[in-house]
Amino acid sequence: MRPAAAARHVWTASLAAATSLFGVRAPAAQTTGTLDVGVSTVRYDGFLPSGAGSLTPALTWERPGTAVTARGTYLRFESGRRSLQGLVAASLLTPPSLLPHRWRGELSLSAGGSSYADFASFWHATGEARLHFVAGGRGAWIGVTGGRTSYGRAARPVAIAGVGVWARRSLMTVAMSATRSMVGDTAYSDLGSTIHASWGRFGLDASLAARLSSRGAGHGVHGEASTTFTLGQRTALFISGGRYPTDPVSGSVAGRYASAGLRLRTAPLPRPRAIRHPQPFMRRSPANGDGGAGFTARLEVQPVPDGTVRVVVRAPAAATVEVAGDFTDWQPVTLRRTGEDRWESVLHIPSGVHRVNVRIDGGRWTAPAGTARAEDEFGGEVGIVAVP
């Protein structure tokens, strides 16, 4: 298949798959599609700056240990010329039992093509094997990549060796990597770092990289950043920009750009909405039979260094708050008020899984927010909380 045709087919498949999912809740709840519609200004090295409109469909299928993504980009420049890119990538982690404790293998495949104005076409197909060492929220990997890439003539071999480390802290993940790549006669080394973070409606991805000891692939420092802002369940705004290097494997030419646009998703976007424990408090109408003030509360358990556990309940407008659970022999314990809407007590609760209920103003026992709710076999609900 000619490269341009391959790129068109991948792009078309991505678009068809993504659009077919709109309006349909992902059936297995593990497949998501996105469609980015945006405008960009881009200046490829050696060319004049140009404006462009872009359409980027993507489809991702995920389950623990496996991810497959198909993605395409259609660009139409001010000049009327167009560019098509398509990529299919898959990652498969080895089963936990295959390697020793804390080690895991990963095999990933990537195939794609691109064409510009019907006169420049690329394709590539690569496979990568990585060995991961994972320790809590940190990890390291070492990997090798092999494959072929072509720029309109005979394919060239691709060989890449790399190492990387990463660490995750709360809502932020930081990664660093070093690679040495050889694509035909071209050879270069990249040192790079990335950060991914999210705060509520904001998501941030940024990267900073340096290309060193390059033969035929350019030198320099490059950086990119993109941020998304969630608008609704299925929509988000994005802004991205930066400078990126030539990629001899995929065929992209070095350039700098700024883009903005709208992202549409098949599955709901993260956006606060009341479905389970969305807010610190869920107000119920007295008609729901809560009794008392008609409130449920939010419970937090905070292990204290001395081995005890601080039980905190946030309950607005409550006059009395009691907890009962298997750690109190189901005897009600009255909490003391320590702040506006805040009630607490320090209890001896062993590590493990516990059943707990909260009672506000002498009403009925309820499963507090902040716990998993389950039927209690007595006609009500019980909260289940794990104390580490």
């Binding site: 998501t32 560019s83 993940t173 993109s226 992209s252 750009y257």
Partner: protein, 210 residues
């Protein structure tokens, strides 16, 4: 007094002390909170569990929970009986060395819909105590995550994740569900994030460059 007589007397004394201790356990004073008609039945169930070498504390707690919630005697007895059966199944799956806390968590997972096979696989995959992984599994299912997806995620993490990591993983799933993500997708994403920072190409979500 011959040495043999002394040994026999000491053995009898030890047996009497053990019997006394067992008698004290049989008459758990906390069960006084049950009504007179319910108490003997629950006590008999607790005794049976003890004889079968099952943990009895969860059964007592379940009865006390029912009493606090003013459930009828029949309902309390049924709940305690059901839990005793679940504890037995959990032990079958987790093995005789499982701790009482593990058995209680295993019973909760079974009640949530997990199979004994899943529990046995967890036992095989993790050297550390299974209490928290089992709790997370039950938790996920209670949150609407399909059992298969929840089990796959927990099994994937159980071999290497610390208890605190599993709790954080659970929180991440809960947070995403609360924010609108489908339960299974939230679980898959959180499991992947909690486990390995995999090859970015297959999971890239950032807006592409032109």
């Amino acid at each position: 007094m011959t040495p043999a007589f002394t040994r026999t007397a000491l053995a009898l004394l030890a047996a009497m002390l053990a019997a006394g201790r067992a008698a004290a356990q049989e008459t758990d004073s906390r069960l006084e909170r049950l009504d007179a008609a319910t108490r003997p039945t629950v006590a008999a169930l607790v005794d049976s569990a003890r004889t079968a070498m099952l943990p009895t504390e969860p059964l007592v707690q379940r009865a006390l929970e029912g009493a606090t919630k003013r459930a009828s005697g029949d309902v309390i007895v049924a709940a305690v009986r059901r839990l005793a059966v679940d504890l037995g199944h959990a032990r079958d799956a987790l093995g005789s060395t499982a701790s009482p806390a593990e058995l209680a968590a295993g019973a909760a997972a079974l009640r949530a819909g997990a199979s004994q096979t899943i529990l046995a696989e967890l036992r095989h995959a993790r050297r550390e105590p299974l209490t928290v992984p089992l709790a997370v599994l039950a938790d996920l299912v209670a949150s609407g995550v399909p059992v298969d997806s929840a089990a796959a995620a927990v099994l994937g993490l159980a071999a290497r994740a610390r208890d605190a990591d599993l709790v954080e993983f659970r929180r991440a799933v809960e947070r995403d569900i609360a924010l609108g993500a489908p339960p299974a997708a939230a679980t898959a994403a959180a499991a992947m994030a909690a486990d390995v920072q995999v090859n970015a190409g297959a999971r890239q979500q950032r807006p592409g460059r032109p």
